[in-house]
């Protein structure tokens, strides 16, 4: 009887484990089925590298190059801002901060992670956007930079908490060895701790960026959504995610536009898949 119970529980757990994989496969198949239909009317090359996105014109122009570049530019900007601050914050929490401050900081970062993105977008729209416009004397503050700054806030909690874990998991002997050789605290952090935790920190950065590239609401509100190939961070951009969100209501099920939006979904899926897999590779390299 006990064995039987054990057997049932084991199988149930197995089933739950398989369920998530099963759903991912189902979702991916659905994406493929709907998205690939767009290539009946536009060639994959023209879709990926076309420079104009006019989905509702006759004939529709479905080139997502400006959207891909828009997403990458916003993500790149967010990385430049959030990586140094996030990693420095992780070092401070893991190595320098006294216990009390450490607790407060960790709670604060968790709180930052809990702010819904639409709230961040709204705050960005009323405070950050006019500010960016005035500082850089731009025609409009709805730019990639505004999006990057807001998204940096969203990537930070992920980067800090995973990088901090990476720093904690370095064997104590490394640090003790460095101190015994007469290294100062900073030398220890810079020359010993950071290189030892590097793969974990890179994984942290990757996962943070994965969050950024999939973010929709905040970027849709503050990046201006103009489908041009951006020349710098100070230009408006339209991201892949914002395009899907803004246009899915219009697209009649089964139309060319509808398939194109699913094809954008595939592109996004592939990008975040690459990011997550490389983060995973880095994490595992650390354990070897």
């Amino acid at each position: 009887m006990r064995k039987f119970k054990e057997f049932i529980i084991e199988k149930l757990i197995l089933l739950s484990g398989l369920a998530s994989i099963f759903f991912v496969i189902l979702i991916f198949l659905f994406l493929l089925k709907e998205g690939l239909s767009v290539f009946k009317s536009v060639s994959p090359l023209n879709f990926l590298f076309g420079k104009s996105w006019y989905p509702i014109s006759e004939p529709a122009q479905l080139g997502i190059m400006p959207l891909i570049l828009g997403s990458l530019l916003v993500t790149f900007g967010a990385a430049i801002i959030s990586v140094p601050i996030g990693v420095a914050c992780a070092i401070y929490i893991a190595e320098v901060a006294p216990l009390k401050i450490k607790e407060i900081l960790k709670a604060g970062i968790e709180l930052l992670a809990a702010i819904p993105s639409v709230v961040l977008g709204f705050i960005g729209m009323v405070t950050l956007v006019p500010w960016v416009k005035n500082i850089f004397h731009l025609p409009t503050g709805l730019t990639a930079l505004s999006g990057s700054i807001m998204l940096a806030f969203m990537a930070m909690p992920t980067i800090v908490s995973i990088a901090e874990d990476a720093l904690y998991s370095i064997p104590k002997t490394y640090k003790e060895g460095a101190f015994a050789l007469g290294a100062t605290h900073w030398q220890t952090i810079w020359r010993v701790m950071l290189p030892a935790a590097s793969s974990g920190i890179i994984a942290a950065v990757m996962l943070g960026l994965g969050r950024v590239i999939g973010e929709t609401m905040a970027v849709m509100m503050i990046t201006g959504n103009a489908a041009v190939i951006p020349r710098s961070l100070l230009f408006p951009v339209r991201t892949l995610t914002a395009t899907v969100a803004a246009e899915m209501g219009e697209a009649v099920v089964g139309s060319e536009h509808y398939f194109a939006l699913f094809a954008i979904g595939i592109v996004l899926f592939i990008i975040s898949f690459i990011i997550n897999v490389s983060a995973d590779l880095f994490l595992h390299r650390r354990k070897l």
């Binding site: 996105w53 006019y54 409009t140 209501g249």
Partner: protein
């Protein structure tokens, strides 16, 4: 403990039954953002007179409304543009037969910041601005500043109307498009806010949104004709060149509650509400 939970579930079940039963007396309306305020006003007055009926109104854009009518998720689609042949074909495939009712007129206002010295433009100049051929206010007698073009997202009937009638000048073979650097904002309110804060911006929205924070541009058909401001009188007399009809679409001829609401809209009282919400009545 378990009995309590059970009772709660049973109670919830009854509630949902009651809700489902009451659904027969409710209609879902979806579509044009331009028309949301108007239809909401109709719905409120209608519900005040008929307390047993329930009307839910949501925006999202004309395209959104029509595509939900086609997929059967709403009873009435409000639209600030005519239904496209493509959409009719799709609807027929799904066994839905869109029937059109004209319910009012709307003047489209082109707006700039109150501090902008430019206050009148011709249709050609408007087309030049929004396609990106005119990029600086200097060319129009304004300051030496870049023009920031604001447009609605592609699911907006206003976007489609503006493209077909201003950019393409009613020419079905024209290939003109909004300049790719146009900022696409998701609502008329967002355009109003951005114009109110940005002296370089130009945008468009339904006349009902005009407020003191934005300056409506007087528009002329060409250089030689009169510049006309977007007011109700000018739209009614046909002098203002940028106005369009507003429609509601139903599946087949309106029946039951939908018909009742339809009749209310076209009644004297309904058309009075059109005027109160800054649109132009058809009767």
């Amino acid at each position: 403990m378990f009995r309590k939970i059970f009772l709660v579930i049973v109670a919830l079940g009854f509630y949902s039954f009651a809700f489902a039963a009451s659904k027969q007396n409710s209609i879902q309306i979806k579509g044009s953002d331009t028309m949301v305020n108007l239809v909401q006003a109709w719905a409120e007055r209608f519900m005040a007179e008929n307390p047993n009926e329930f009307i839910a109104v949501t925006g999202g854009g004309s395209g959104t409304g029509l595509s939900s009518l086609i997929s059967g998720t709403c009873d009435i689609a409000m639209s600030s543009r005519e239904i496209k042949q493509k959409e009719i074909d799709l609807a027929k495939q799904k066994g839905i037969n869109p029937s059109e009712t004209k319910v009012g007129l709307d003047g489209l206002a082109v707006i700039v910041h109150p501090a902008n010295p430019v206050s009148q433009l011709t249709l050609d100049e408007l087309a030049g601005i929004f396609t990106g051929k005119i990029a600086n206010w200097k060319e129009l007698g304004g300051k030496d500043e870049k023009i920031v073009i604001l447009s609605r997202e592609v699911n907006s009937g206003t976007h489609v109307y503006f493209k077909e009638h201003i950019l393409r000048k009613n020419d079905p073979n024209s290939k003109e498009e909004f300049s790719p650097s146009a900022l696409l904002l998701s609502s008329s309110q967002a355009i109003a806010d951005e114009v109110a804060n940005n002296p370089q911006a130009i945008g468009y929205y339904g006349m009902g949104y005009i407020s003191a924070k934005q300056k409506p541009i007087a528009v002329a058909k060409d250089k030689t004709s009169e510049y006309v401001a977007p007011t109700i009188d000018n739209v009614l007399s046909g002098k203002y060149p940028v106005s369009r009809p507003l429609f509601i679409y139903t599946n087949g001829e309106p029946q039951g509650l939908v018909k009742k609401f339809d009749e209310f809209i076209l009644s004297k009282e309904g058309q009075k509400i059109v005027l109160e919400t800054d649109f132009v009545p058809i009767k």
